[in-house]
Amino acid sequence: MIARALCLAFALFAGSLVHAGEAAPLADDPVAEKRLQELSTELRCLVCQNQTIADSNAELAQDLRREIRGMIQAGQSDKQIIDFMVTRYGDFVLYRPPVKGITLLLWGGPAALLLLGIFALLRYLRQRATRLAEELPLSTEDAQQAEKLLKEISQK
């Protein structure tokens, strides 16, 4: 147990060390560094595709962070920097791809599937209700008993 805890503590510690080894921030300019952080969490690292450029330690991600840093220092706007990336790596580099023809299925797909599911469920439930009513009509005895029970409830 203790060994496990130690292991975990070590893993966490090692993790923070790795972070400390990150490219040197623009310490003298916290605003620029914050912009770099925000921009690089919007951009996908193309080498390890499920990580952002901010998270990834791949060489390319480091290069691109350096590139973004340079562009921030050169006074470029966020849009200019994002456009720079898109012209080179395509929409795929964006973690939130723009809504347009080719990405319509991506954005609308889940909602469309949900609607389809709701529609199918409603249809099924309605059909089931009519089917049950047709297949198993109440006998007169059952109907009388049901009425009696309903009356009892309403009297209470």
Binding site: D63, R88, F92
Partner: protein, 194 residues
């Protein structure tokens, strides 16, 4: 009966979707550069380091640009295909050596100055080519990977087909195998050369 038809149909549709999706290569990212002018650069030539070359110098020719590096394992795999290609074809094949030294990970870059890096890169690249054969008309040295970024390189090897007007017509990511060469690259080059 009708009900099962719908359920089975929906399930089959889902399976097809997943089967197609899972068989796609996630690294096959379509390049936005196809159809656009090849980004400009001015890079030193490996065999004649005092000279530089830019894509403009290739205007009027259909040419291939192959991004490689001596530390890149897949490049070694595709290299024989390129060597064979260069023997059989007079289509210019330019090499773009990508981050020869700093991409390797073997070197502590804080201990190398720019001159040392440059010298080492040229030396390593020439040595590798003399060892494995040199299919390139000439090789351009992209020491810091800046040109690589302009070309949207994210994994060597990558190969671009560039037409007579200097427009990128195709990009292939990953090693070229004989099939890609025969079925995709060569027909396109032939068509562009018409």
């Amino acid at each position: 009966m009708n009900r099962y038809f719908w359920i089975v149909g929906a399930f089959a549709g889902l399976v097809t979707l997943l089967a197609v999706g899972l068989n796609l290569n996630p690294h096959d990212v379509p390049s936005p550069l196809v159809g656009k002018p090849a980004p400009a650069f001015q890079l030193n030539v490996l065999s004649t380091p005092e000279k530089t070359l830019s894509p403009k110098d290739m205007q009027g020719k259909v040419w291939l640009l192959n991004v490689w590096s001596s530390w890149c394992v897949s490049c070694r795999a595709e290299h024989p295909v390129l060597v064979q290609f260069s023997k059989n074809s007079d289509v210019p094949l330019l090499g773009l050596n990508y981050k020869e030294v700093r991409g390797d990970g073997e070197f502590d870059m804080s201990k190398l100055n720019a001159d040392q890096e440059r010298k080492l890169a040229f030396q390593r690249a020439s040595q590798w080519l003399s060892q494995h054969g040199d299919p390139y008309t000439l090789t351009l040295m992209d020491l810091d990977g800046r040109v690589g970024i302009d070309y949207g390189v994210y994994g060597v090897p990558e190969t671009y087909v560039i037409d007579k007007t200097g427009t990128i017509r195709m990009k292939h990511t990953g090693p070229i195998d004989p099939e890609v060469l025969e079925k995709k690259i060569l027909p396109l080059v032939a068509e562009l050369n018409k």
